[in-house]
Amino acid sequence: MTTHTDTPGAPQAISVPSGVRTLRQWQTLTSRGLLKVLRNGEFMFAFIAPAFLALCFYLPLRKVMDSAPGMDYGQFLMPIILLQAVSFAGTSAAMRSSFDVSRGINTRFRVLPMAGWVPLTARLATNVVLLCVSMLCGVVACLIIGWRPGGGIAGTIGLFAITLGIGVLLALVADGLGLVAGTPEATSQFLGLPTMVLGMVSTGFVPEERFPEWIRGFARNQPISQFVDVMRVADSSEPMTWSVAAPTVCWCAGLAALAGYLVVAGTRKARR
């Protein structure tokens, strides 16, 4: 005989198996995140951000760039536009998680009978949905400026899989950064300048040999350029070799470690 029935309110919570309850909590929080994304108009910006980049570089620079032999600037820009779409999803992930901290939602979640990883995975699910939407928008923007898939079916699937993988890692890092930074203002300052510098000084906009001598080493080896290289190989008929993929794999492992560290640090900060 159970004694639980004596206390009002408690039986209902106990009668539901905990797995189902957790799933429902996760569902509720995910739809909360998605509604927020919808209301902020972020789905619209998911298209504006990559399209803006595509037009603002493609239209002014196409003629200047195409004067170099063997260059098709629409094709060339494709990876950096996809990465921009992905990083937009990351930025908005960081903003959302920092709002959750600064408005005290996370603290309120902590006093509810809910596993600590439920909000985290709910945010992740929201981010993945936004990520897929912005990737799709990025692909449309690329198709408009003249990109055509060049790697066949396997290559194209590989291209999108790589982009999605990078995007998920970036979203996790951004989510953790938002938790640690705590305020939206600080978060946007953390993100703003580094993304601008890394994005511009990469081989995504300009081939390596058009950079001044002294900065080529940095431009070649920094993560964005390596991602771009791998994506270009996947998008062409060249076979993917380990020597091309290795730096990207290493950078991704580094991103995963950073994401893990930030999320743990952020969660610990919330517990204090």
Binding site: L59, L193, V201
Partner: protein, 276 residues
Amino acid sequence: MTVDAVQTTAAADVAKRERSLATWFANSRVLTGRQIVVYIRNVPTVLQSLIIPAVSLVLIKVVLGDTVGEATGQDSLYGTVPLMILVGSMGGSMVSAIRLNRERSTGLLARLYVMPINRAADLTSRVAAEAVRILAVTLILLAVGYAMGFRFSQGVGSAIALVAVPVVFGSAYAVLVLAIAVSSPSGAPLVQYLGLLMNVLMFFNSGFSPIDAYPGWLQPIVANQPMTPGIDLMRSLATGGPITENLIKVAVWAAIFVGAGVYPALVGYRKAATAR
């Protein structure tokens, strides 16, 4: 009865003095000082409005300098430095627009309005403070440009004229931005949209890429948008070249900004200060 009469004349006196040019000047000076102090004390904003243009200048030169330089046969700095000066001078006015909106909601505008202050002084002080900020950002960007190889070959007079271009143009633009800020409800994203428009203008002008590199249908727009004449004028003032036509175009754009801005700004300002 006599007391009443004295009071009325005194009030009339104050009202007359309030509208005089001397009062306008004195009030504007005090309020300009205030605007500058408020701006300087917000350190992150200062850094952002001075450092972001400087970093962008270096980045554009490093990333696109060789490509664009090859295409035009001229060091791309003579386009990039003027471009970033204009972007810096125009972009910073967003800050003062946002401040204006905030000062309205905190009631500062209403408090100034009930004092014997010239009605236009607050507005002119904001524009004057903008001019000071633009001068600062121009000098910083010119210093960065000089370090990378930007030179004046036309003498001191042209150098001073070059600095005057963004100050005049940017101040005129600030009038328009302030007019929009004061006539739109606080929190409206109008200013952000203006920022987006400016970001587009930043890519479609003669300083970013040579005009004939743009698609044909876009070239007339690129050639005549507000920033391009300013960039070409500043380029000519640094390296020599035709001046008159671009000078006229810059003056026309500045006149359009001021003409479109002044009246809505004054009306909007009164509404903002008196509405409850």
